[in-house]
């Protein structure tokens, strides 16, 4: 069985602000890390590899050349192959263009029996790429998978989270799943594997190698949504700042709660 796992490198910090005077984005440092939600996708892939004989795990990412680091990290935990989709012409991709690019890359290096994505990223926070990717690949998907009960060459049995219910479903492969945080406890990268995989190549794929080579399907041109402008979040106009000792502040808070009837006795 061939399992693909989609990973993304995200900024190490979420501390990004807009300078209210100039409108320029301010971002501290450029350190980056593997999207924390993807650790669960990677772990799920590795657990499945351990349960189904002859299974390989391929880690796929899209991003600038330095996102290679997260493929190295995947190697250190047990992924067999790694692919990075990188091209300046992918810049400015929204959900649709990102999903399209990933679908092209996965088609090129696939086919996969099972594709696993994290629930969402910490930078885009949209949680929509998995389902769009499945649509482009023409396979079913399950979102918010909280447990996998069985996987064999033909079927996957899993539990997924719905607003008020949980659904146990059986799905015929190939399929794509997005997994919830906590489905499995992610393992740590192994130093032994780090040494063993230091020379393992990472396949780098640019736009010209993809099945669809039409440049306007990628990046900004391939993105139906456009950011018209960015602005700092509005702040509350009416507010009071209270300072003083802990005791004084507690007293004022108490008086406020009492005045506003939050301290009614029950019954």
């Amino acid at each position: 069985m061939k399992i693909g796992v989609c990973l993304k490198q995200v900024p190490g910090t979420t501390k990004v602000e807009v300078d209210p005077q100039t409108g320029v984005l301010k971002r501290d440092g450029v350190d980056a890390k593997l999207n924390p939600f993807d650790l669960y996708a990677l772990e799920t892939a590795l657990r499945m590899k351990a349960t189904v004989p002859d299974t390989s795990v391929c880690a796929v990412t899209m991003g600038p050349p330095q996102s290679e680091e997260i493929i190295r990290e995947a190697y250190m935990t047990g992924a067999d192959d790694g692919v990075i989709l990188s091209d300046r012409r992918f810049a400015g991709s929204d959900v649709l263009a990102t999903s399209w690019t990933l679908s092209q890359g996965l088609t090129l290096v696939g086919p996969f029996d099972l594709i696993i994505c994290g629930k969402q990223t910490t930078d885009g926070d949209t949680a929509q790429v998995g389902a769009e990717l499945a649509e482009f690949l023409g396979i079913p998907h399950l979102c918010n998978v909280t447990a996998i009960e069985e996987l064999n060459e033909e079927f996957l049995t899993a539990v997924m989270d719905l607003p008020g219910h949980v659904q146990r479903v059986k799905v015929k492969l190939p399929c794509l799943i997005t997994v919830e945080k906590g489905i499995f406890e992610p393992r740590l990268p192994s130093f032994r594997r780090k040494l063993a995989t230091a020379d393992r190549p990472i396949r780098r794929i640019g736009l010209d190698e993809l099945p669809d080579r039409e440049a306007r399907h990628y990046g900004l041109d391939g993105s139906p949504t456009q950011v018209a402008r960015i602005f700092p979040p509005e702040s509350n106009q009416v507010r009071e700042t209270w300072t003083g000792s802990g005791r004084e502040l507690a007293d004022r808070a108490f008086a406020w709660l009492k005045e506003h009837k939050f301290l009614q006795q029950e019954g």
């Binding site: 012409r89 799905v171 139906p224 950011v227 402008r229």
Partner: protein
Amino acid sequence: MAELIIHPDKITDPAAAMKLCPFGAIVDEAGQLTITAACRMCRLCVRKGPAGAFELREDASPAAGADIGSWHGIAVYVEHEGGKIHPVTLELLGKARELARKSPQPVYALFIGAGSRQAATALLEYGPDEVFVYDHPELTHFRIEPYAAAGADFITRVRPAIILVGGTTVGRSLAPRLAARFRTGLTADCTALDIQPDGGLAQIRPAFGGNIMAHIMTPKRRPQFATVRYKIFPLSEPEARPSGKVTVLPVKPEFLSSAITVLEVKPKPAVNGIEEAEVIVAAGRGLKKAEDLAMIRELAALLHGEVASTRSLIEAGWVDPRRQIGLSGRTVKPRLLIACGISGAIQFVAGMKGSETVIAINSDPEAPIFRTAHYALVGDLYQIVPELINRIKADGAAAFISSGAGVP
């Protein structure tokens, strides 16, 4: 192909030019400035750089977009489980009506399910002009392929310009599937929506994973998909005299083909939902260890409220993930929210800004949470919270005695 071109002759200070990019995509390669794949096409370099130094070269608009005038109407996807309508649907119908007043067009509801014919009538009082129903026993449980097939059939027949979907687990599974099928834009978890007179949907949401809001448009493709979390918009009032109608559309056999078999559907174990809470005491990174949650719980209990937290405490495993407030957690709208040791990242604020009153306790006077809070308590939560608990308990005891109870 849209691309950014650098004109080096217009740049006198390359180091300053490199700093323009918040994503570090402008780099110096052997003495020559170049743009890497880290570029997000935010175009800040074009707007903020030296005049003419960065140029965005765009193709003349391709054929796509030529037909957008033929798409009309605002559709709301009816989120339900077993026919029980999720309240986010009513919130979205209210928003759709508001948008339709600014840019006149019909409001539709799309109801896919089993027995949806009957339930659809009840929806009419929330103001849709027409409820389109796909009713079939095999649509009892949500399975992505049949629901997407019915949704796609609706889009092809009705051609709505806008589709609003609740940002629930089902909505966030279905909306992207349909958006990809129609190769159109989808903006997830919008925190505000507005409409232009020409029908363009202005979608506001936090962006770039930071303290920034983005105003997003889908200029050339239709329908314009947006998902919105529960409790972002107010619940709309029912209408006394609904004038809309219900239209039943045929469920073709091919819609029902699916690789998924639903084995079992179980209700989730009941958790006191923070979404319904009137009072919430929320804790953030200012809390030093898991045991300190005890005082947060005690304060919440004294106020008959619920405990919630930011993402960091969920990641630390201290708090049940269902108690997370924020863009990746729940959206709450309590009468009172007390934020203890929470810095106020935009993702958190997005999930609680509908709170009627926010009291924030933070030792950092510059904490962003104070921009959202109505009452900013600059101080140590480890002093304030226990003191407050003591005061409330003493008051309760006083009330107990003065009421005469306990007097022999």
